[in-house]
Amino acid sequence: MNSTRKAVLAAAVSTVALAASAQAETIKMAFIDPLSGAMASSGEPAYQSFVLAAEHVNAEGGVNGDMIEIVGYDNKISPKESLVQLQKAIDSGARYILQGNGSSVASAIIDAVNKHNARNPGEEVLFFNYAAVTPAFTNEVCSFWHFRFDAHTDMKMNAITDWIAARDDIKKVYLIGQDYVHGEAVAAAAETQLAEKRPDIEIVGNELHPLAKVKDFTPYVQKIISSDADAVITGNWGQDMTLLVKAAADSGQQIPYLTFYGGSSGAVAALREGAIDTLYQVGEVSVNMDGTSPEQDAMVEEYKERFPDYDYYYHRAFVALDMFAAAAEKAGSVEPIAVANALEGLSVDGGYGTATMRAEDHQVQQPLYITTVSSDVTYPVDNTDLGWKLVEGGIISADAAMEPTTCSMERPE
């Protein structure tokens, strides 16, 4: 190719680029989570939630006129695979990373994002963590580049232990969880908080099982039954949640299961009527509560219509994108550092209360709800006629759910 032709070509390319920049740009957000295999039942509905949330933001004029595009990357729940996908995402121009399923994965991503941002000034990426709840992420290893839109383990456990403390009939508690950093954190939080609030309660079992590998929980459930436990606390999610309660139902066990993720799709379907007053979950969503706004109800209905296999569950995906849009508008930019600064201390009104991003540790503060399964609901789940209903006194205000932080993060100047 001779030099004149090269120059013509270069001119043509730059004209095209100029023309494109005048139009609305797309803000690429990379969703890195399991989209195949055993844990896809957790990854898929989250992906769909982000897609729907993005559509709503775009429909209202986008973010400063730019449109959000969510691109899914399947990490097969492996931290190693996630880093490959993360690099792919960054190479394709994504400056925002969405991930949540698995604290082991989140931990790897935080680390990789920190390194990437240190090495590539001007090309920073932000990590929006919507579900990895290990407390350390907003304490010991907190990072300016990481924002968590879900309440962490200690916050959720506080809600659970408060509920147990008020129940005098519970004397023995069994802890079962997945054998990795999340399961360990749940067990540790339960042990310390129960010892504080109800020293008379005996912890009759503290079991960790392999993550996403157990096909048959019957031996575990039989162990729980023979331990005479009055309640079970579990941080299980995905297939491990569904199969655990399925085994419990098959064994005819009728004690409260206090869970972080009882809303994992399939859990209620596995228990059917047996889930009433036995399956509890704590989270930021309570679709059947009185006094929700018509817009929020419409969103729940739209979600079900669009994705009939799943139910409205990942409310925090909507909160995350709403906060992102608000922050970008406040900053007048979609550049990660500007957005990150604008996110700090920002509040948005969500369908289930106000969410505020705490500036010190980037941990969202929002009300939590304890819900249980009931047949008297407007929005059932799992294509049954059962759904999640708020328990009495099950509202934990954002202030009550708040936990102190030890975070002291380094900020870019």
Binding site: A40, S41, P210, P219, D250
Partner: protein, 310 residues
């Protein structure tokens, strides 16, 4: 006591399922001298076929039809795939089954999707059969037990008491001699391969809805099946049976043991607070089959009942 009863019951059921899966593999190995890497994929196909057949008819038809369909696919694979590759030696065969496993995986993902399908236990069997020490025991588990024992007896009768079994056994060890006697050895090979795949599919039909039917089930089951075959002794059905029961019992009973390594090796000075000491037996459950594999290969490379070296 109750721990023991539950561990025995669950262990026997799991062990029988494992045997159902590995019996076909070990038969195929002794016949062709090649480990079929795609074997667990036929198990997965069985579960998915049963799910689809159940959708248009009912479970009982699926129970019969799915293994037959998968057995048919197995025969086609042997006739038009393995037999052609056979001339190029064992490595080519091994690579062929390896590639086949991936192919089946991908095909399953394309047809049935990447997530688990809702393959349910039939309503007629979805009830608690009896209550044992306060825990209900689902009827479907006993159904698995009955089907597995029925299969075990049928297989034993076929191989040991019938003329067809006699010819199969002879063809396994002395194929040329059997061929000279006028039997169609390639046809026997094809039939055995098909039957082996059908057995794996049967395990998929009755195991898929009790556990979970997703595209990862073949990958997760594959290693365990190889452990069973190698520990039992390559090519030995009796060995595979003993190894399957051993692994089934080991894995399920490990879960019910609360002791940690420190409780067992405490007399050697292992502290309960140390990294190693705090490991519980229960958390070691998934590792035990592979530990068994390594130990057996070290002390008895033939496997428990095998007659040739691995």
């Amino acid at each position: 006591m109750e721990t023991l009863v539950f561990a025995l019951l669950n262990g026997v059921i799991y062990g029988l399922l494992l045997f159902m899966l590995s019996s076909g593999l070990t038969l195929i190995f002794s016949m062709m001298g090649v480990l079929n890497f795609a074997h667990a994929s036929f198990y997965m196909l069985g579960a998915y076929f049963a799910y689809t057949v159940m959708g248009i008819s009912n479970f009982w038809i699926a129970l019969i039809l799915a293994p037959i369909l998968v057995g048919g696919i197995g025969m086609v694979v042997e006739r038009y795939g393995l037999r052609q590759v056979h001339a190029r030696g064992h490595v080519a065969e091994l690579l062929f089954t390896f590639g086949l496993a991936y192919l089946i995986d991908e095909v399953v993902k394309i047809i049935w999707g990447r997530t688990a399908v809702d393959y349910q236990v039939p309503a007629a069997l979805d009830f608690p059969l009896f209550t044992l020490y306060g825990a209900q025991y689902p009827a479907y588990r006993i159904f698995i037990l009955v089907v597995a024992i029925f299969m075990l007896v049928a297989l034993w009768y076929l191989l040991k008491k019938t003329r067809a079994g006699l010819i199969i056994q002879a063809a396994l060890s002395h194929p040329h001699m059997v061929g000279h006697l006028g039997h169609n050895v390639p046809a026997i090979f094809m039939a055995v391969f098909g039957a082996g795949c059908a057995l794996a599919a049967l395990a998929g039909v009755i195991g898929g809805n009790y556990f979970i039917t997703d595209p990862a089930m073949a990958v997760q089951m594959g290693p365990i099946v190889f452990v069973v075959v190698v520990v039992g002794g390559l090519g030995s059905l009796e060995g595979a049976f003993i190894a399957a029961m051993l692994i089934g019992l080991l894995q399920t009973s490990a879960i019910s043991i609360n002791a940690s390594l420190a409780d067992i090796f405490g007399f050697l000075g292992l502290s309960p607070d140390s990294e190693v000491g705090e490991i519980t037996i229960a958390s070691m459950g998934p590792m035990l089959p592979f530990l068994l594999l390594v130990v057996v290969l070290m002390v008895r490379p033939r496997g428990l009942m095998g007659d040739r070296e691995v």
